[in-house]
């Protein structure tokens, strides 16, 4: 739940005075997202989202994030569009924080993804990769393979508190990932956090992508590996190959995969599972007991990691390799 900074009406009205949105009618903090403070804003001009950027988001990255959403919107991808004020600026300051106003996207995120939704997500991700290809600002992925061992070391040898043997499993897997991580795959801007709560559907169709605050430059297929982990496992931990096939097929229908990407996918998926296992492990060990923040279970991603370790080829995700190339 995310409202870390409250805003007074006079401050917000003054901020809105720079925009051409009419009178402020109401604003409510939204209990979604964890990095920033978000408000649903109603003005004469309609409904918008106001975001105050908290400390976890580096100020220097804001032109990348906001610029990317502007760029993708201009290409016709449905995502929040930063609203420019009278001076043409999309980033301002409010309550001592960087702040921006975005158009409001109708739609709901799905708590129980269907196979068809997986296909739509794959296709939307491929469109995003294509549309972002000429986005000019670079941003390295701060949570890719080089960051995982330091993150594990920051857990101070406490992994086994969560599950006996977890530390050893992670050590061995880090050795494998570091030794085998690809160096030459098609790269570009990836979303890097395309979980179900960041994808809206309306009337059975995908209506938009949100929350680009982990977006960065990395291998395009790594984004797909993250989405396989996030969308295609059932609550009981089993991998749903129908969903996997739809996700991969939806993606490849827009942007066919290269043979190198197809071969690398199981390894990239191990990496994706490791990345979320590690950030969850760190948060698990460092979130106070009794906190009202829901701790996400690192063991869920350990299980996904163990699944991907056993995958020998992309066919085990539900689709033969030849269906994914052009």
């Amino acid at each position: 739940m995310a409202v870390y900074t409250d805003v007074t009406e006079p401050d917000l009205s003054a901020f809105l005075g720079l925009y051409d949105l009419g009178r402020l009618l109401s604003y409510k903090g939204i209990a979604e997202g964890v990095e920033n403070s978000n408000f649903l804003l109603r003005c004469d001009a309609g409904t918008f989202i106001l975001t105050l950027y908290e400390k976890r988001v580096a100020r220097g990255d804001l032109p990348f994030f906001v610029g990317l959403m502007e760029h993708l919107s201009a290409r016709g991808l449905s995502c929040p569009l930063p609203v420019a004020n009278g001076a043409g600026e999309t980033l301002g300051e409010l309550a001592g924080r960087p702040a921006a106003i975005f158009t409001f996207l109708e739609g709901m995120w799905t708590r129980r993804p269907s196979a068809d939704q997986c296909r739509e997500v794959g296709a939307a991700m491929a469109r995003m990769h294509r549309d972002a290809a000429d986005f000019p600002i670079p941003r390295p992925n701060a949570l890719s393979v080089a960051a995982w061992r330091p993150l594990f070391e920051a857990c101070d040898g406490r992994a086994d508190e969560v599950r006996p043997g977890l530390g050893e499993t992670i050590q061995a897997e880090l050795d494998h990932l570091e030794a085998n991580w690809p160096t030459d795959l098609p790269a570009g801007v990836i979303h890097a956090d395309l979980f179900p709560d960041n994808v809206f559907f309306l009337g059975g169709e995908l209506s938009g992508l949100i929350d680009f605050y982990f977006a960065c430059n990395d291998f395009l297929a790594y984004d797909l590996a993250i989405a396989l982990c996030a969308w295609c496992f059932e609550p009981d931990g089993s991998f749903n190959a129908t969903k996997g096939a739809k996700m991969l097929g939806g993606y490849a229908g827009v942007r066919p995969l290269t043979p190198a990407e197809i071969e690398a996918l199981p390894l990239l998926a191990r990496g994706a599972a490791m990345r979320f296992c590690l950030t969850r492990l760190y948060d698990w060990l460092n979130t106070p007991d009794g906190s009202f923040v829901t701790k996400k279970d690192p063991v869920e991603y350990l299980r996904k990691l163990l699944f991907h370790q056993r995958v020998r080829s992309v066919a085990e995700y539900g689709v033969p390799a030849e269906r994914l190339t052009s």
Copy 2:
């Protein structure tokens, strides 16, 4: 911050199917309120609030709360109006909880109340008292004088952990309040929690009252005593007599006070300060450290209590008694 229960789209769509509000377009959890889960709902028919009632609200009280808002809306008071479904019901069930849909009130609560806003709040409270006079369902005040000592005892003698001497101050004050609490003042339905976050303003005018989930039957002047505590002190702890005068004058302009109410007001204000000091003390001692819930400081209400203890007559709140009678 308050979303304790999440809702899936299929469940919400099925619930909405009972209403005549068109398609569901979006819903977002709202980070306001502490008792219930609230969502901002957008449908073809407009914007609404969806409330899921959590355990802290007794199911048996819901017809009182929802009925009261319906009653007050029908009298022209601006408050959330429960929306009836096709069967004429305003209360249903969603995600295993009692649930209701309300009209959305535009407006913002004020983080820094002005004297004029205090006057408007006083007047709105008096209108509410008048409009609720013929509301037929009774609900005793579970947090009035008889409840305070048990609440203090539930704090297990730990008051001095918050401030040395606090326990003794509360003991002595409880003796005084129990011995002197009035028994025969004008009574009726009171809001009982009319703090700034429960009053909306728009364009300089009061646009509505919300959150009737502490409403109950009690002395009408006790509601005013609560509002004096909640609105008329400055952040440095000083009482603002201009705000006090406006609040009391605004109220009396709609519903003149009786001499007995005027005489009782300082004692009622001591009681109001005690009630919030005690609930805050209990929550302070029973909320885990490191929790992301903001603990409210009981000492703020101890200071208000000490102020009201020194008040000899209503004139010290900023207004001569004769200006408050008809």
